[in-house]
């Protein structure tokens, strides 16, 4: 266990179910790389995913993996962290899973600020159900359920996170592994709820937001030397600016976590001796006499 880890240590025997060229491959390998570089042990990693092509990722990371129901990865992951704070807890899922059916949990997981990481694999479509519009699809995006074009305004998940009080907000692109690895590492090391949105092209259904298109449109904000990722309003402005898609660590702040504010003991709850304190229990009955 002391030997230094490599991405291989996080590989599973299960062959992936993704289409050749799917952006999700990039996310997976960056994640393995980051875990290895952080020296995490598979046994200490709890990895929770949603439902979707992206959601299948939990089957490909050697860890304690939980592939739950659509849109609920965050509550599951949040509770795992509270139940055993010694674990490194990561949740991952698609733009539909996280921003459509999961939008409510997303907002609340953000403001709860539990020490965990959430990776949104954004392909701007519902891949697994064959390419309908998702909350991040462009207005006018033509899909089976929006033959006349998606009538809605795309949702900016990271801006939403900022509004909900996020303490770590970053965006990557699955064709830029180095940056992704660095970002995921920073996110995991961040004390609190960290969100990393990764632009992860769906090569089968999304013919608009392709790798080529992204290469055209992404811009690394951290490159701009005038950019300081500690101003919420500025970060919001950067995210809202029409046109290019900012990449990098867009906002970061230190704030007490849910664990801090509830005074959660250092001993993981999962390690408590349930038979202790019997006499204290009995004593409690006095209140009912």
């Amino acid at each position: 266990m002391t030997a230094t880890l490599t991405p291989k240590d996080f590989a599973t025997a299960t062959p992936s179910w993704w289409c050749p060229g799917c952006g999700d491959f990039g996310v997976l390998s960056a994640l393995k790389q980051a875990m290895a570089e952080l020296g995490k042990q598979p046994k200490d990693v709890a990895f929770v995913s949603g439902i979707g092509c992206s959601g299948k990722i939990s089957g490909y990371l050697h860890s304690y993996a939980f592939h739950g129901v659509h849109g609920r990865a965050l509550p599951v992951a949040s509770a795992i962290k509270l139940a055993n704070r010694d674990l490194t807890v990561i949740a991952a899922g698609g733009d539909g899973d996280g921003y459509a059916i999961g939008a409510g949990h997303f907002v609340h997981a953000v403001r709860r600020n539990i020490d965990m990481t959430y990776i949104v694999m954004d392909n701007q479509t519902y891949g697994l159900t064959k390419g309908q519009s998702s909350p991040t699809s462009a207005t006018g995006y033509v899909a089976s359920v929006s033959p006349d074009g998606n009538p809605d305004t795309p949702l900016n998940g990271l801006a939403l996170a900022l509004a909900a009080g996020a303490t770590f907000v970053a965006r990557g692109f699955s064709a830029q592994p180095k940056q992704m690895v660095a970002m995921i590492k920073a996110a995991v090391e961040h004390r609190g709820f960290s969100i990393v949105e990764v632009m992860s092209p769906c090569v089968t259904y999304n013919k608009i937001n392709t790798y080529a298109w992204f290469k055209e449109n992404v811009e690394d904000v951290t490159a701009r030397e005038d950019y300081a990722p500690n101003d919420r309003a500025a970060a919001f402005a950067a995210l809202m600016r029409e046109g290019d898609i900012p990449l990098g660590i867009i906002y970061k702040e230190d704030r007490p976590t849910f664990e801090d504010r509830t005074g959660l003991p250092e001993t993981p709850i999962a390690r408590l001796d349930l038979n202790a304190a019997r006499e204290r229990f009995t004593a409690m009955q006095a209140a009912y006499r």
Binding site: K43, F66, G68, I80, N84, I269, L272, N275, F281
Partner: protein, 600 residues
């Protein structure tokens, strides 16, 4: 006069403090050595709106209301209008006539009327209208003979933290009430009396508190919940206590989060639960299926209220048994347990956590407003006797990766369960169908086998399920089946029917799923009449019984769906009428409410 058996109803407007006074009365009754049961009937609003609080005292615990109200303390006319018909002939009414008077058509002449300007006295003599509650306490005490010392001690206990002035004010209020009775009604006895006995070593507890306490003792250290009447008490109780024992409570953003958080905590190896009521339970449906297929032990408390939809949120009903048993797409093993008393609420909470972990299934505790928000006196709860059985949990040491299979096929269908952090146990837990190692597969043979493995647990668990309790005379011709809050009124009806010469037997179900088919078959055998008593319209329990014994002519449904619990007489009448029987002793004698009450 009637000794040691009285049902008091406190009636006024929500938020006027009658709940506090009701609790006080309950406490005094207990300290006088009597058995107490309380029932709250309040509206779904915060201030105003008719509310009433029933406190029943008797020599034996009946776990329910009597046939009728003996003493109505009415703070307004609305209370009289709403409940005058529920009064027992010979009972009495204390009415605050400060601003209202009783119209003749309501003035029943078979009850004694004590009209007292409570508010006026409170304002003029004590300077605070609110204390009319305490005055009424003095009045009631004087009328039925509640121990003046005990009253004063308890009142002091309640108001102490508000300072001596408040305590003193309330002492004078009691005084005022007592003396008013002496001065004006010396010649008008209430006909009820209490003989102070020994309180002994007893508790008085609410059903919800007993469940929460049981969960804590059973090792529950995580709860996620979303407020909803009548389940919020559990969330509140756990919020206060869990942190003291190293655990945590999360107030979730909704029930979808509450139940999935509960799954997450349980997956990580913590005994976890959530508590909700109908609407929230409906939202948890999908995740319960996930718990079933991932074989995660979770305990879900259902504090049932009146549906459908928002319905009557503060009223009682037994209309979601079907939901707990049948909801969800696909089939999973699940357990539904129903306590019938406060004491059983504690015991069943403990059992629920053991069953959940031993068989790795979701376990529902089904209770209802008339039980979970009702208080009752009971013997102390035996914490030492509680045993925690975590089943095939592997939370330490290590397992051999590759050999270890989270969903291994076994004799009893239960697979060894590792938790995150255990070396070698890494695996995928997928809501999709999977093989023994947790790898997703759609292979038909594996699928069939996995279904058999999971569902087989319903059979292997049989011997560990809470048994059904037989009340009454085992070989009586008349049989009654029921569960939950109806345990009280049915058992009382059985007792009183017997006293009246009609023998019956009553099977109180405590495990509702897997359905105790054998018990039902055996119990129904040879019965001339089988009455299925339940608080719903469609007869959900009846339907389950019919599937086991067939649609026998002998099966009769006794149902109530107006949001109110049964009173024993309703069951007695249903039995007698259907069976074409009359009581050897006249109804009046035994309609007394407490089978054990002596009639002097």
């Amino acid at each position: 006069m009637i000794l040691n058996s009285v049902e008091v109803m406190f009636g006024g407007q929500a938020g006027d403090g009658s709940l506090t006074t009701g609790d006080l009365i309950a406490g005094v009754f207990k300290r006088m050595g009597l058995e107490v049961y309380t029932y709250k009937d309040f509206p779904s609003r915060i201030r105003g709106g008719h509310t009433n609080y029933v406190i029943r005292a008797s020599e034996h615990q009946n776990y329910g209301m009597a046939d009728a109200v003996d003493a109505l303390v009415a703070f307004d006319l609305e209370a009289v209008e709403a409940h005058i018909e529920e009064m027992r002939p010979g009972g009495f009414v204390v009415f605050d006539n400060t601003s209202e008077t009783i119209p003749d058509d309501l003035r029943r002449d078979d009850v004694t009327w004590y009209e007292i300007p409570l508010a006026k006295i409170a304002k003029e003599q004590l300077g605070l209208e609110l204390v009319r509650n305490t005055i009424s306490l003095g009045v009631l005490g004087a009328l039925i003979g509640m121990d003046p010392e005990i009253i004063r001690n308890d009142v002091r206990g309640v108001y102490q933290r508000k300072g001596e002035k408040v305590v003193d004010l309330n002492m004078r209020a009691i005084e005022a009430g007592e003396s008013y009775v002496l001065e004006h009604f010396a010649d008008r006895p209430s006909g009820y009396g209490l003989v102070a006995g020994d309180d002994g070593d007893r508790l008085i507890m609410m059903g919800n508190d007993a469940i929460a306490y049981g969960a804590l003792v059973a090792g529950c250290r995580f709860m996620a919940g979303y407020p909803i009447t009548p389940a919020t008490d559990v969330l509140e109780w756990m919020s206060k206590q869990l942190p003291k024992f190293g655990g945590v409570v999360v107030q979730a953003e909704d029930e979808l989060a509450a139940i999935t958080m509960t799954l997450g905590a349980a997956f990580a190896g913590v005994r976890a639960m959530t508590a909700t009521s109908g609407p929230g339970q409906a939202l948890m449906t999908e995740a319960i299926g996930l718990a079933g297929v991932l074989e995660i032990p979770v305990v879900v408390i259902e504090c049932a209220r009146t549906g459908p939809s928002t319905g009557m949120p503060t009223k009682t009903e037994q209309s979601n048994l079907n939901h707990l048993i049948y909801s969800g797409h696909g089939e999973i093993p699940r357990v539904v347990l129903a306590p019938g008393t406060v004491h059983e609420s504690f015991e069943i909470a403990v059992t629920a956590f053991n069953l959940a972990e031993k068989y790795q299934v979701p376990v529902f505790i089904l209770t209802e407003q008339a039980l979970c928000q009702s208080k009752a006196t009971l013997a102390p709860l035996d914490v030492e006797a509680v045993e925690i059985d975590r089943g095939k949990l592997i939370d330490s040491g290590e397992v051999v990766f590759g050999e270890y299979k989270r969903f291994a096929f076994t004799e009893d269908g239960v697979s060894p369960r590792v938790i995150p952090g255990v070396p070698g146990g890494m695996h995928l837990a997928p809501g999709s169908e999977h093989n023994d190692a947790g790898v997703i597969t759609e292979n038909p043979r594996n699928r069939a086998r996995m279904m058999e493995k999971r569902m087989g647990k319903l059979v292997s668990m049989r011997d560990d399920l809470p048994n059904a309790v037989l009340h009454g005379i085992a070989d009586a011709d008349i049989a009654i089946v029921g569960y939950g809050a109806n345990r009280g009124p049915i058992a009382e009806a059985v007792q009183r029917l017997a006293a009246g010469g009609v023998l019956t037997r009553f099977l109180q179900l405590r495990t509702l799923w897997p359905f105790p088919e054998d018990d039902i078959r055996a119990f129904v055998r040879g019965a001339q009449h089988v009455f299925v008593v339940e608080n719903n319209y469609t007869g959900q329990l009846m339907q389950l019984i019919r599937a086991v014994v067939g649609p026998l002519d002998a099966l009769h449904g006794v149902r109530k769906y107006d949001g109110r619990p049964f009173r024993p007489i309703e069951i007695i009448d249903a039995v007698l009428e259907t069976a074409g029987l009359t009581l050897r002793r006249a109804q009046g004698d035994i309609a007394q409410g407490d089978a054990a009450a002596e009639v002097v």
